[in-house]
């Protein structure tokens, strides 16, 4: 059963010339207890897709223009601001890339966590402290009780990110949106944090929308992956299938652009990404695609394929066999 099902989600930014499309997602599904990797390069729309779930956009000029976002069978797109307040934090937890931006430097790190426990679980006083300690222990922070009264600058980057995870899971959400949670961390710290996220998911049967640009992390952390380009998913399927037998030229080129020791010239993707709003018709990748033909500029490819592995490319069979 799908816990989260996003269809036709359309995110726009209001400009002087009218609304401009930032994301136009054909579909994205997340099963119960599943961790899905949402992968793409800068500006492809990963963050806005994650934020669209609970409609917390970075500026008021960005808004949800249409589409459905079903969480556990209920359409969040139809909810008003007040009803969404009850969803945020309680049913959907969020972790961002930069823990510094989310922690107030003048408060001890335990304070926002205890506020959340009061808000979502009506825990106060000693009960809140006890639960906060338990959560800090659960995210494997050392010296949990003492750490509650420490300030953000006294913690390492990895520890601050653990605090953010403790806050995100405090209310026992069904869905965790983790937006590049380890990108700002050192590689030797990243591995530990990824393992923790995976343990938490298993233990609580929580679904995780794991947003990243790192194909290596995806290869080893998630069973299913969705690749985004210019505001839409261009390929999705089991991680192994997508990474070993990509059906979309973009996925293929992205994999070939990763540097490795002892390898010659890298295959770079020509040009730069074109924003969704500037694509009048046809395939969004056509301007950079080595496989592009005239029909690609006329027909917009839909996500399709032989089974669960699907790509939005008119020539996917050829791409697969080159």
């Amino acid at each position: 059963m799908a816990l989260l099902s996003m269809r036709g989600v359309h995110v726009v930014v209001d400009t002087a010339e009218g609304p401009r499309t930032l994301v136009r997602l054909s579909e994205l599904e997340l099963a119960e207890g599943e961790m899905l990797g949402l992968v793409g390069e800068t500006g492809s729309g990963k963050t806005l897709t994650g934020l669209a779930v609970t409609r917390v956009f970075p500026t008021p000029s960005i808004r949800l223009q249409g589409g459905s976002i079903e969480l556990g069978g209920r359409d969040l797109a139809g909810l008003g601001e007040r009803e969404l307040l009850a969803v945020r934090g309680r049913e959907v937890g969020v972790v961002f890339q930069d823990p510094n931006a989310s922690l107030n430097p003048v408060f001890p790190v335990g304070r926002p966590l205890m506020d959340l426990l009061g808000l979502h679980r009506s825990l106060r006083g000693q009960a809140a402290v006890a639960e906060a300690v338990r959560l800090f222990q659960r995210v494997e922070l050392p010296d949990a009780a003492a750490l509650l009264s420490r300030y953000p600058h006294e913690l390492s980057g990895g520890q601050r990110q653990r605090v953010m995870i403790a806050m995100a899971i405090a209310a026992g959400p069904k869905l965790l949106v983790a937006d590049e949670p380890t990108t700002a961390l050192d590689v030797t710290v990243q591995a530990e944090l990824l393992r923790l996220l995976d343990d938490l998911r298993r233990e609580a049967g929580m679904s995780v929308l794991f947003i990243t640009h790192n194909l290596g992390v995806v290869a080893h952390m998630v069973e299913r992956v969705a690749i985004m380009y210019a505001g839409d998913v261009v390929e999705t399927g089991p991680t192994r299938a997508v990474l070993k037998e990509p059906r979309h030229p973009y996925t293929r080129l992205l994999l070939e652009a990763v540097p490795r020791q002892g390898q010659g010239r890298l295959k770079a993707i020509a040009g730069t990404a074109v924003p969704r709003s500037e694509i009048a018709q046809g395939c969004a990748f056509a301007s950079r695609c080595p496989f592009a033909q005239d029909r690609c500029r006329a027909i917009e490819p839909a996500l399709e394929g032989p089974g669960v592995h699907r790509a939005a490319c008119l020539r996917q069979e050829e791409v697969l066999h080159v």
Binding site: G158, V187, H220, L243, Q261, G262
Partner: protein
């Protein structure tokens, strides 16, 4: 014989830690703590390590942007002067930074950013400078139209190309690149890495490349030095270090990198503790996190041990090498 271009002898850079109302100096961060390295002309050396290991401080010291607290920097066979560098030396050593936007003046058109070093370092007449600037920009893939624009109208990758063209304008012998692709996407990074490879092949410019990304270093460099806590823990030919990392930290660093091929195993090690500011002093800088640490590691600083063209600083590796 390749000529010695850069040599660091026991280089040290310390930052004071100030405490209290009077901002008294209460100690020091040993950001670079006795580093010895060499780079031959036309060579490529990568400096790898995680946040706080001293990479950027090392790069800035080599570029003359800050003064060492101890040790010696030799450039082109002579001791690098402290303070302001003479013009000739400034021309020969150029630097490219991580943030491609920050290193370009927002009020200066792209072409002027490249004309500026031509004006400072060459005797070309203005018309020739303009032509040369356009040619340099074309070489890095910036069109004549883009050359007339301001930096903010360019993408991150394009700005980094301009920064590289600006460095090339001086016709340097050494370019120091501090995390040149860390702010870029993988597809844009690939374009920049290819550009760097072309420059190296064509002009023979030496690179000192600073990066936290071992894959990037492996792709660009012939040699690598791995830094931890302000010290080199292992250095050698890239192929050798990747084939057989010997230092426990190098091993952990390589094991932590996940490969995009799901069939290549990923077995990251769990390291104790967290990375702290380098304190200097006696002992191995990695001892708090090292899975192999014993009493000796806190009492003696590991000495350089040469194995098959590499140099490793670790007591345990040394003990293994000794005949039983």
């Amino acid at each position: 014989m390749s000529e010695r271009l850069l040599a660091l002898h026991d280089l040290q850079v310390r930052y004071p830690i100030r405490k209290g109302l009077l901002r008294r100096v209460a100690g020091a961060v040993h950001a670079v703590d006795g580093v010895s390295l060499r780079l031959d002309s036309g060579g490529t050396l990568g400096i790898a390590g995680e946040s706080g290991c001293g990479k950027t401080t090392l790069a800035r010291a080599v570029a003359g942007l800050l003064s060492p607290s101890g040790g010696r920097i030799e450039l082109f066979g002579e001791k690098a002067p402290q303070g302001h560098w003479p013009l000739a030396l400034r021309r020969r050593v150029q630097m490219v930074f991580q943030d491609p936007g920050g290193s370009l003046d927002p009020r200066q058109k792209v072409i002027d950013a490249v004309r500026e070093p031509l004006e400072a370092f060459t005797r070309q007449p203005p018309q020739a400078r303009t032509e040369r600037a356009l040619a340099l920009l074309a070489e890095v893939g910036i069109t004549a139209q883009q050359a007339l624009r301001y930096p903010h109208t360019l993408s991150g990758g394009q700005k980094q190309r301009v920064a590289i063209a600006r460095a090339l304008a001086a016709e340097p012998d050494l370019i120091i690149l501090d995390e040149p692709t860390s702010a870029l996407d993988v597809s844009v990074q690939a374009q920049i890495l290819n550009l760097l490879a072309d420059i190296h092949d064509r002009l023979g410019t030496a690179f000192l490349l600073i990066s936290h990304d071992l894959d990037v270093i492996a792709h660009v460099c012939e040699r690598v030095a791995v830094l931890y806590g302000g010290r080199v823990v292992e250095a050698g030919p890239v192929a050798e270090v990747f084939r057989e990392p010997r230092h426990p930290y190098t091993r952990a660093l390589l094991a932590a990198l996940p490969d995009p091929d799901p069939d290549r195993p990923w077995r990251p090690e769990t390291l104790k503790g967290t990375v702290g500011a380098p304190e200097g002093g006696v002992g191995c800088p990695f001892r708090q996190r090292c899975p192999l640490a014993d009493a000796r590691c806190g009492q003696e600083t590991p000495k350089a041990l040469e194995i098959e063209g590499s140099v490793v600083f670790c007591h345990r590796v040394e003990e293994q090498q000794r005949p039983a």
